[in-house]
């Protein structure tokens, strides 16, 4: 049996765990409890009263936040961070757990934290009191680490603070000052000290620009005060995309890589082009594989599809990022040999394979959240992903390729994400639509806005035929056909589970809408044939679906699927509503009435359109067949705040329609 040495004590050993821990620590440290004092900056921050304007539900408030960056002529950079919080409610205790990220190129040279309880006796904790882990990045292996420090007495009424310093020579000379938080910030200060001759450029996002104060030679300070908290709303963009942020890049004009990083999108492209030079070289092995893959391809597009499909399904996503490896891809030859890589690696191998097949392509550096990349400010740290732009020969038909743009200089470019396992060539994953990429060409970069794919490309068509028995049960078949986003979602659902459990996915879906049902059979089509629409056919019976009421049968004709959204029921809205993608979805359900029954009442047709979302439905009777049809269309992915009330009214109408019922009456 496992009996690790930290196992809980035997029942008759009386030393309790925490008391034991105290003595262990006391023995190990062999030092008296530290009688600490807080640093001046924290003491000063602690004196600051919390203004009445701070909302009563705030769990804590940032009294003071400071970030000081000092760059030296040799490229060394030291950044000092200071944070002071007042805990206002028990929920604010979490702010006493501090996570600090660092790596070999940004090592920590100083870390301390303090707590000032009501009695004024200061606690102090240091670096060696922290726990450390390398599981912060979520990659298979990278050199990012995090220190976690538990600050004592992070209780309501108390002040906590911490300070740390990172020193190193970074690859990227840029800071992101995230001064707006989920709690109010009373004062935040950013200071930049750069060597003589260096330049800087800055940008404010989601906040009015603040002019810097000069606080010394080449030293500038920006300050914001009374910054409200970002409040979380349903279906809002990622909160960091709407929070106030200050980006600043600094560079020596004489240092080419720095100057390129600090320059325009064009310059950034040059920098990345240099960094990734020779990574896409074609080897004989790659050429041989391409020849094999494309042997049966009759057209250029078929060749491209053969290669992109191979890349999506055969090359495993494994991210190994060490040092500059966060930006620089592995060589295509290595990725091909290992048959694994991260997004940059997959784009690199894909580019090399396309080159072997005669197609040019360009890196497209991407960001998976909308609203982070600011077109006015060229910034390499705004990105976190990599896809590829494939140059299409002019004779390639593009009518079924929805991720194509016509670049005046580079020609027709087909954007493709080799990391996304389920989105086929011609489509774009939803998070890349209406988002920016940095297109990297040998002679420079440019920022490109990728389009929202039209609703008709993300299509769900559901058709059902049912018979109603006199006791209200229904039996029938449903066929679903999905293209684009809805197909991607279904494939992900079915492929993630083991094949033996796939029927459970359908069970789970039906169980969302039906009380008591039996799935009588199901099949899925084109599960891994990504270039074709995904199909689902299933047959079920639901004995209690329609309700008997005397000589009436009450039938809700909207049997399956939910388009309504109750999450938008709040009264006020501060941030836009964000959808994944534009989509067109239709339902068509036919019901054969039981013998002896006729329709007593039909729900009224519904037609509503707020511009961003349109919806219509109707229920009709044709002989003894009742037909319910509806169309739901989302036209855009970002719905501005002023449209919120109309959007809500649309969803109210949809919700009412989804609950509406047909009344059948026995004709006797």
């Amino acid at each position: 049996m496992n009996k690790p040495s930290w196992k809980r004590p035997h029942p008759h050993i009386r030393t309790s765990l925490f008391v034991g821990a105290i003595f262990v620590v006391a023995l190990v440290s062999a030092a008296p409890a530290r009688s600490a004092s807080s640093p001046d900056w924290l003491t000063a921050a602690a004196r600051q009263p919390v203004p009445a304007s701070v909302p009563k539900d705030a769990v804590a408030v940032v009294l003071y936040s400071e970030q000081q960056t000092t760059a030296k002529p040799n490229g060394d950079v030291e950044t000092r961070y200071r944070e002071a919080y007042k805990i206002l409610r028990p929920g604010g205790k979490d702010y006493g757990t501090v996570s600090i990220y660092f790596s070999k190129i940004t090592p920590l040279s100083y870390l301390k934290a303090w707590s000032i309880p009501a009695d004024g006796k200061v606690y102090e904790v240091k670096d060696h009191d922290s726990a450390e882990t390398q599981l912060a990045g979520g990659e298979f292996y990278d050199d990012l680490k995090v220190k976690v420090l538990e600050i004592p007495a992070a209780d309501p009424g108390n002040i906590i603070g911490y300070e740390y310093v990172q020193k190193g020579r970074p690859y990227i000379f840029q800071d992101v000052w995230d001064f707006q938080e989920r709690i109010p910030v009373l004062r935040a200060v950013y200071t930049l000290q750069i060597p003589d001759g260096w330049k800087y450029a800055s940008h404010w996002s989601n906040y009015n620009q603040v002019e810097p104060q000069s606080s010394g030679s080449n030293q500038l300070t920006w300050q914001v005060t009374d910054v409200p908290a970002v409040t979380i709303e349903d279906d809002m963009p990622p909160w960091r995309a709407v929070a106030g942020r200050f980006d600043v890049k600094y560079f020596s004009p004489e240092n080419t890589p720095q100057a390129q990083q600090g320059g325009s999108w064009h310059d950034l492209g040059l920098w990345y082009s240099g960094l990734s030079a020779s990574r896409r070289d074609v080897t004989p092995e790659i050429s041989a594989e391409v020849a094999s893959l494309t042997a049966q391809a009759k057209t250029p597009l078929e060749k491209i599809e053969a290669i992109t499909s191979y890349m999506q399904r055969h090359i495993r996503y494994v991210a190994i990022e060490i040092g500059i490896g966060g930006f620089q891809p592995h060589a295509a030859a290595d990725v091909f040999k290992n048959q694994y890589g991260d997004c940059k690696d997959k784009a690199t191998l894909l580019s090399a394979m396309l080159k072997a097949a005669g197609f040019d392509s360009y890196y497209a550096v991407a960001q998976v959240d909308r609203g982070i990349v600011q077109p006015e400010f060229a910034s390499v740290v705004s990105f976190n992903h990599m896809i590829l732009a494939i140059h299409l020969p002019s004779d390639v038909p593009t009518q079924n390729l929805y991720a194509v743009i016509d670049d005046p200089k580079l020609g027709k470019l087909l954007f493709f994400d080799p990391t996304d396992t389920y989105t086929p060539v011609g489509y774009l994953p939803d998070y890349e639509q209406s988002n920016y990429v940095l297109l990297v060409a040998p002679d420079g970069g440019q920022l490109v806005h990728l389009p929202v794919l039209p609703p008709s490309t993300n299509r769900l068509m559901r058709v059902g035929q049912f018979t109603i028995d006199p006791s209200g049960g229904i039996t029938g078949n449903v066929k679903e056909v999905r293209w684009g986003g809805p197909a991607v979602q279904s494939r992900a659902q079915f492929l993630d589970v083991e094949p033996k459990d796939r029927e459970k996915v359908i069970d789970q879906f039906l169980g969302t809408f039906l009380d008591n049902f039996q799935l009588q059979g199901a099949s899925i089509g084109n599960l891994t044939n990504f270039d074709e629409p995904f199909t689902e056919d299933y047959r079920f019976s639901a004995p209690n679906y329609a309700k008997e009421a005397g000589d009436l049968i009450i039938l809700r004709p909207h049997v399956l699927g939910e388009k309504s959204s109750a999450v938008l029921s709040g009264a006020e809205r501060k941030y836009p509503v964000e959808y994944d993608e534009a989509t067109l979805q239709t339902d068509e359900f036919d019901f054969t009435l039981p013998v002896g029954y006729t329709v007593d009442e039909l729900p009224p047709p519904v037609k509503t359109d707020c511009g961003y979302i349109s919806y219509s439905s109707k229920t009709t009777l044709d002989g003894n067949v009742l037909r319910y049809t509806r169309t739901y269309q989302v036209n855009d992915v970002m719905i501005p705040v002023p449209k919120f009330k109309e959007l809500r009214a649309t969803f109210d109408a949809i919700a009412a329609d989804e609950r509406a019922a047909v009344v059948l009456k026995h004709s006797s």
Binding site: M1, N2, K3, P4, K7, P9, H10, P11, H12, I13, R14, T15, S16, V19, I22, F23, V25, R34, K56, G91, K121, Y123, S130, A131, E132, T133, Q134, L135, F140, Y141, P152, R313, R316, V318, I320, K337, N338, Q339, Y340, L495, D496, E498, P499, K500, R502, K504, D507, Q508, L510, G511, N516, K547, A549, A566, P603, A656, R659, A660, A661, V662
Partner: protein, 659 residues
């Protein structure tokens, strides 16, 4: 501490005593196994079709003499998704363990071999308090469906390792063949015997003694772990074989003798700890009166003990404890004088007070069933890491846990119920069954007084009463939060029972501190468009509450037993005043009630004037239901969903009049 572990003994269902001083052996896991062409051609797992991957073969060898383990895995990949098996992580503790001799390779479907020549990374899982847990990570190359991957490594541990041996027999993947072996020679003393036990392996575990003294075990067709809702925590279910080295001085002990010996040691410890008669009697005298009935006395002492600050509930850093000058309590007098203690210390104070008041009171050690189960046959006292108190009252055994904050007299936290415990006493101890609470000991009552608008909207008041375990556990979960935080948590919880468009605002919560009364939440409820229109009719759902359970039992099949933490009841009383412009046309007939059985459900709508009254009950009477009964459970909850979704039909009054 180590001595404590030595004393943790096993016998289990199958106990094998091994002769010590086996000849030293080396593992045979240094060569790849030959590849069976049939395995390369395999397209699916014939024993469990439809898998992403399966373990074709696994070998684990444990050498307790030299303190190492060797592992060998051969895994067949069937699907793209199964390729994730190629990412391998081997955790170890730096300074104590070393991972050595990592070898790996990929065998393509055509039989060609790609040896692993990549980098093995060392990843820091956690470094804290002088302990560094790392993992060796590597990923195999060129892995595609149809491939076989295999890898092996040696985990060299420190010399104490032979006290810490187990085989995790069941993996997440199905295992076709597995060989396990243990070499247990060369202990520093010759006075130990090796014992093992098997837990949840699901097939006979017959260790075979080999000529070289090793013990081997061959297993086949071991199912992978299956995740399901309402199941016992996965780690408690995982099939495993565990070993213990038992001193020969104790190995002759029968199960009864073992527990008697444990009882004797622990009883002495308890007696020593509470041996402060004067201090205890003073408290008894100050707390009770001679005229109190025995039960009243006990209740008063229970209430007195619950006033002691329970440090087990406080989440403090070491520095804070030191600052507060928290000291170790050496006896009950210390606890009373300082007015703080941990769970066990507080319960021991209660034992002392009860005894001082003339009651027979004893410690009961048990295994909390949210962590692990207790198997008395296994003779492992360390499993009993929780305690309650048994008091004899009017000839009955009464189980109490006064250290459990917010639990009133007579009520235990759910994880201390439905388990077997060891009652510590001077007679050598005995096993007692701490019964499950009845479902009526954990009740949620919902009283809704609502008005239906002509537009189908519903509004009114909702009062939710938690009683028993339900109330106590809520109080305990929310103990650290403030009023606003509690209000938010409770609101979020209640909103989960309601349609997503519902708005619920808490107006008052009472009973947070007083565990003798229900925890009562009052608030206002609005549900826009609650009733659906059907021409001149309105379809009115009988209850606004949505039961979460049925969604977890959609699947027609089930592998694991169904596990509810605690039996419980829901009692709903919903009254809906109908709008004057509508009248009730029909109430649903034949609502599928389940009046009998281990899970009961009733739904009774009636009309009184223009008020629709709905009474609903759900009574889950047990905690564990065998998987063999799953069909019945699924059926009952499908009836619950059917009943809950029933609707009344209202007809517009004018229309009805015309009819």
């Amino acid at each position: 501490m180590r001595l404590t572990n030595f004393l943790s003994l096993f016998s289990g269902f199958c106990v094998i005593s091994l002769v010590l001083a086996f000849p030293a052996g080396t593992p045979a896991a240094d060569e790849w196994q030959p590849i069976n062409p049939a395995d390369l051609a395999l397209k699916d797992n014939p024993a469990s079709p439809g898998s992403h991957a399966m373990i074709l073969y696994r070998r684990e060898h444990t050498d307790s003499e030299q303190s190492f383990v060797t592992e060998y895995y051969r895994i067949k990949i069937f699907t793209e998704e199964g390729k994730s098996q190629a990412d391998v992580e081997v955790p170890f503790i730096k300074g104590r363990d070393h991972v050595e001799d990592i070898r790996a390779r990929t065998i393509r479907p055509d039989g060609s071999i790609v040896p692993f020549a990549g980098q093995v990374f060392e990843k820091e899982i956690v470094k804290a308090g002088g302990i560094k847990v790392l993992e060796k990570t590597f990923t195999l190359p060129d892995v595609q469906p149809g491939c076989i991957i295999e890898y092996m490594y040696k985990l060299q541990k420190d010399s104490d390792y032979y006290w810490d041996v187990s085989w995790s027999v069941q993996q997440d993947l199905f295992t076709r063949d597995a060989d396990f072996s243990i070499h247990a020679a060369g202990l520093s003393s010759s006075s130990y015997s090796l014992y093992f036990r098997s837990v949840n392996v699901g097939q006979p575990v017959n260790l075979q003694k080999q000529k070289n003294g090793e013990y081997t075990l061959a297993l086949h067709n071991i199912p992978g772990m299956t995740d399901e809702d309402y199941m016992v925590p996965k780690d408690m279910l995982r099939g495993r074989v565990e070993f213990i080295f038992k001193p020969d001085s104790l190995s002759h002990l029968s199960k009864d003798a073992y527990w008697k010996q444990m009882d004797k040691t622990i009883n002495q410890s308890v007696d020593d700890y509470i041996n402060k008669k004067n201090a205890l009697q003073q408290i008894v005298a100050a707390t009770t009166t001679a005229s109190d009935s025995p039960e009243t006395k006990l209740r008063k002492l229970y209430a007195r003990v619950q006033l002691i600050r329970n440090l087990s509930y406080e989440d403090r850093t070491t520095q804070e404890w030191k600052r507060q000058k928290i000291q170790q309590n050496n006896n009950v007098e210390d606890v009373l004088k300082r007015n703080y203690g941990d769970n066990r210390e507080i319960n021991d104070v209660f034992i002392g007070l009860a005894r001082a008041a003339g009651f027979e009171a004893n410690q009961v050690l048990l295994a909390p069933r949210d962590e692990h189960f207790f198997y008395p046959d296994f003779q492992d006292v360390s499993e009993l890491n929780d305690d309650i108190v048994c008091v004899k009252l009017d000839g009955r055994d009464l189980f109490l846990d006064p250290a459990a904050k917010f639990y009133p007299f007579g009520l235990l936290p759910w994880n201390e119920t439905g388990v077997t415990g060891l009652r510590i006493n001077r007679e050598g101890g005995d096993f007692v069954q701490v019964v499950l609470p009845r479902s009526s000991d954990s009740v949620t009552e919902r009283h809704a007084t609502l008005h239906l608008g002509e537009d189908g909207s519903l509004s009114g008041t909702l009062e939710v009463d938690y009683t028993g375990v339900r109330a106590s556990s809520t109080r305990q979960e929310e103990r650290a939060d403030d009023e606003a935080g509690r209000k938010k948590d409770i609101t979020d919880e209640i909103k989960r029972w309601l349609p997503s468009s519902a708005k619920f605002d808490v107006t008052k919560i009472s009973g947070w501190e007083d565990s003798s009364v229900p925890l009562v939440i009052s608030g206002t409820l609005t549900i826009p468009s609650y009733a659906a229109s059907a021409g001149h009719r309105l379809l009115l759902p009988l209850t606004p509450f949505i039961a979460p359970e049925p969604r977890s039992f959609q699947s027609p099949t089930r592998v694991n037993n169904v596990y509810f933490a605690v039996p419980y009841q829901q009692r709903d009383d919903v009254s809906i005043t109908l709008p004057a412009s509508y009248q009730l046309e029909s109430l649903p007939q034949n609502i599928p009630n389940v009046p009998e059985g281990a899970i009961r459900y009733t739904m009774l709508p009636t009309k009184q004037g223009n008020i629709l009254q709905v009474k609903r009950t759900l009574d889950v009477e047990d905690s564990i239901y065998p998987a063999s009964l799953y069909g019945s459970i699924r059926h009952v909850f499908s009836l619950v969903k059917t009943g809950d979704d029933e609707q009344a039909v209202l007809e517009a009054a004018t229309s009805a009049h015309q009819n």
